[in-house]
Symmetry: C2
Subunit: 250 residues, 2 copies
């Protein structure tokens, strides 16, 4: 009897990972027998590995006997720099949007009370903008920033509205009550706009990118005026849905 008949390339590590790989959105709680079947392990092997994973906290056994993902993996998952994934996933969508509009397209996430730009695509014919990958701009004066602010935890919104709102152009919205009203409209309309509030000659349209009900980013486009708004919002939404679909574990 060989020690294992599983074939080459099968290590303990790969077996452990096979066990973890059994869990997905449709299989969040699994019995030991189900894990063994799905991971293609014998019952005693699965028993040993699952036992150790449970002892460490990677898995947890529930009252009815099924195993679920445990606290330690939840903690670890929170450490993943999803933003880099986000940029990689979103990049082709940004390219497509640029190709269709020749306008500057950018992607941002909320970083405290600023919008952090992860990526930007623009060309010679695009409206000049101050955003570039890695730069931060205030939430209140940019399209993506307003989207991120509208969908941020309430404490963030309160913090932004309580501080002085800096003016970049004569059109920048600097009254908290006016901004707050805009934020309510943004959640209803599903998109945000700016009209020369950050840069003279530059207007923007932005929408949220949401995964599992959480807004993780905002996708924006910069145009000289908002006349094409009705056409651009659906295009942005299609791209945002594409980005979200590629981000979520479905």
């Amino acid at each position: 009897m060989p020690r294992t008949n599983a074939g080459p390339g099968v290590t303990v590590t790969s077996r452990v990972l096979s066990v973890l790989g059994c869990f997905d959105a449709e299989h969040t709680s699994l019995t030991l027998t189900e894990i063994a079947l799905r991971a293609e392990l014998t019952l005693p092997t699965a028993h040993r590995l699952v036992g150790e994973l449970a002892a460490w906290g990677a898995l947890r056994r529930e009252r009815h006997g099924g195993y679920v993902i445990g606290r330690r993996l939840w903690d670890l998952g929170l450490l993943a720099p999803v933003q880099t994934d986000l940029r990689d996933v979103a990049s082709p969508f940004l390219q497509d949007l640029y190709g269709a509009t020749l306008a500057t397209v950018h992607l941002a996430v909320r970083d405290g009370v600023n919008a952090l730009y992860l990526d930007r695509v623009s060309g010679h014919a695009s409206v000049p903008v101050v955003s570039k990958a890695g730069s931060r701009l205030p939430l209140h004066s940019t399209g993506v920033g307003k989207v991120l602010l509208a969908h941020a935890p309430a404490a963030v919104r309160h913090e932004v509205l309580a501080a002085p709102l800096e003016r970049f152009t004569p059109y920048t919205i600097a009254q908290p009550s006016r901004l707050a009203r805009q934020l309510e409209h943004i959640t209803q309309d599903g998109y945000a706009t700016t009209t020369e509030e950050m840069t003279l000659g530059a207007c923007s349209i932005a929408i949220p990118v949401s995964v599992n009900g959480h807004t993780v980013a905002s996708l924006g486009i910069v145009v000289p005026h908002l006349r094409a708004c009705a056409r651009l919002v659906p295009a942005l939404q299609v791209a945002a849905q594409g980005i979200a679909r590629n981000l979520s574990p479905g």
Copy 2:
């Protein structure tokens, strides 16, 4: 030379888990050498294990050479039923609050447009309430519900405010504009109250339980009147901070 001199109880699985355990909020990106040191492995061993973890997607190597938690663990972490953890962690705090007040104390999370009660502690002298563990009540008519709604994604708030708000007592707030104004105050005040809006004779005070800036639950107390509000809010906040501290990976 023995195959390993690490001592009893050290398995491949435990070594893999030691590698994963190197990562925490203060060490989100680690070189192979750092991982080997922190996991108490030799460099070749760490190299083999990390290589396999990276191939599977549990870790990812960044451009500058450091390893970070990868997408697969982010995906798995999302599957963890944190709510059960939450109940276990919160239980002693709920008991303490009950012991100090003899009032009904409960913990809820948002489940769609409802408050899902995870736990409740009450006694014979407590005000009778309709909440019990496992039950769901509307967000707009309960203290914990209002807290959860105020801190929910904007889309949820919009959904609740757009639907008819059911009346349970003559005091239930059923006008969307009035509820919306209350929600704004809740974010400023840091707590919510109800005055016989769910059950006659029952008022409540509730606060958010937040982890890393995200409201994950609400902690509430039911009293016959709000006279002791100024005393109870700090007590609730201390308990909420204790719960959050035990929940977060710090």
